[in-house]
């Protein structure tokens, strides 16, 4: 496990996904009418073909991973608990928070916070510039979309803009 064999993992993952699709997801999530005139027109025809194709490709990939195990030769990323990985987790937090804050604060103020948080995660050296952009960019975009392009940007429950 020291050196992940990506091919093998991708192959196994794709195969498992394809099996899950065929066994569970497609029967559950694709509604097929009672009578289908031609089998090729059934709503689950394409998804099933694609799932079989994925299964085939996944198995191929797995075999390739087992028998041609030559390491990719690409640079490996830092280990799981490096600073980089923590920052990636932070980005996940920013994305989630951004999305959840839009209905509460409105898109403009949520964007200001998201920008600030991201710039902090990037540890930007240009603090002043970042601060300025963080505030101005969402406001300018708001003005443009709402007042010129006619797209009402969602407003929050607190500070409303004209």
């Amino acid at each position: 496990m020291t050196r992940l064999n990506t091919d093998l993992w991708v192959g196994v993952g794709v195969s498992l996904f394809a099996v899950a699709l065929l066994v569970y997801v497609i029967p559950q999530a694709v509604v097929v009418p009672r009578s289908v005139r031609y089998i090729v027109l059934s709503p689950d025809f394409w998804p099933e073909i694609l799932a079989y194709a994925l299964l085939l490709l996944g198995v191929l990939m797995t075999l390739k991973g087992i028998f041609f195990t030559a390491p990719d030769g690409q640079a490996e990323g830092p280990s799981l608990f490096s600073a980089g990985s923590l920052r990636v987790l932070g980005i996940g937090g920013v994305f989630a928070g951004y999305y959840l804050l839009i209905p509460v604060l409105g898109m403009v103020w949520a964007s200001v916070l998201a920008y600030g948080a991201l710039a902090a995660i990037f540890r930007s050296r240009h603090r002043l510039a970042a601060l300025l952009v963080a505030i101005l960019l969402p406001l300018i975009l708001y003005a443009f979309f709402t007042h010129i392009a006619g797209v009402p940007i969602p407003q929050g429950q607190y500070v409303r803009l004209p």
Binding site: V31, P33, H147, I148, G150, P152, R160
Partner: protein, 326 residues
């Protein structure tokens, strides 16, 4: 780029300056009019013309917003679930509010989720076939279907659209026993659908007169019937009453304004006023008439009744022919 911004900015300022201030309780801020269909379609054009007129009469701008998807369902759901402060309303359409509720069992809304404030535009259905199809009358078409249902096909813009239901209903009225045996060819857009008939990939199409006007004017499609009471000048085709099927007059496209079920009264009243103003505005009437529509004004009760009646007729057909979709 600066100069463009200035021009745009200037026009925006001009637009705002042109609005007289009204001291009404509604609207308190800009109103969003959701159009559940794409830019450039008949619902979109009708709605944009409406807001163009209303801009002069509202203290805040009314913004048209397109929320496209699933034959009008995506946009309609968004309004049904919107904050019911009256600042989000829907341009409801025949497809999203009578056909889909009648056909789709798992539709995430019902007619009761909306409060209708008025219908302002009607758009009759015209059936047409390719100019070179060799079919000149609706009877010929129906005879052809009776002889060999598999040899005939009609286009639509998908399941649960006016195009599909109108074709089926007309075939049903003409005594075709199993309209489902006729091939239904769903396309992604109205223009594509009419083009498919013109190019000979399908036999006929029944849709809003406005969508066929240019094809008929260019003699690419031949109109077979219209569901209007009187003949339309641009379409040289008999009306359904002339053909002995006045019951088909219920097949008419419409656009109305609806809010969420708990739409506040002041918003409903104000929209009623606005619709009255717009439907008596000569520019608005001219504009929509030129696009092939008929401008009407129906008050909330009339609208509700009109929509309910159409829904019930469609529902009966759907149940009888087992057209419903899971």
């Amino acid at each position: 780029m600066k100069s463009i911004k200035r021009i745009l900015g200037a026009s925006a300022i001009l637009a705002t300056a042109a609005m007289p201030a009204f001291a009404a309780d509604y609207p308190k801020r800009p109103v969003t009019l959701v159009v559940p269909y794409g830019t450039g379609g008949s619902t979109d054009i009708a709605s944009r013309s409406l807001t163009n007129v209303l801009g002069k009469h509202s203290s805040h701008p009314i913004m048209v917003v397109n929320r496209v998807g699933a034959a009008g369902v995506t946009g309609s759901v968004s309004v049904a679930n919107a904050r019911d402060d009256g600042h989000t309303v829907l341009a409801a359409r025949v497809g999203s509010h009578t056909i889909n509720p009648a056909m789709k069992r798992t539709l995430p809304y019902t007619l009761d989720d909306f409060r209708f404030v008025g219908v302002f535009e009607l758009n009759a259905v015209v059936c047409a076939t390719g100019a070179n199809s060799g079919i000149d009358t609706i009877e010929q078409l129906m005879d052809k279907i009776k002889a060999d249902p598999g040899s005939v096909s009609y286009v639509s813009t998908g399941v649960g659209t006016l195009l599909q239901l109108a074709s089926i209903m007309i075939m049903d009225a003409y005594g075709i026993e199993n309209p489902l045996a006729v091939t239904h060819l769903p396309m992604r857009g109205g223009g594509e659908a009419a083009t498919a008939v013109f190019a000979g990939n399908a036999t006929f199409v029944c849709t809003n007169s406005s969508d066929l006007a240019s094809f008929v004017a260019n003699k690419q499609l031949k109109p077979l019937l219209t569901t209007t009471k009187e003949r339309l000048p641009a379409f040289d085709a008999p009306t359904v009453a002339e053909l002995g099927h006045p019951e088909l007059e219920v097949l008419v496209g419409w656009t109305g304004i609806a809010g969420p079920a708990n739409l506040p009264d002041e918003a409903a009243v104000q929209w009623g006023e606005w619709l009255k103003i717009a439907t008596s505005d000569q520019g608005f009437v001219d504009h929509l008439t030129r696009m092939g529509s008929e401008v009407v004004y129906m008050d909330p009760d009339e609208s509700k009744q009109f929509i309910q009646h159409q829904y019930e007729v469609f529902k009966e057909l759907v149940t009888r022919l087992d057209l419903s979709v899971e």
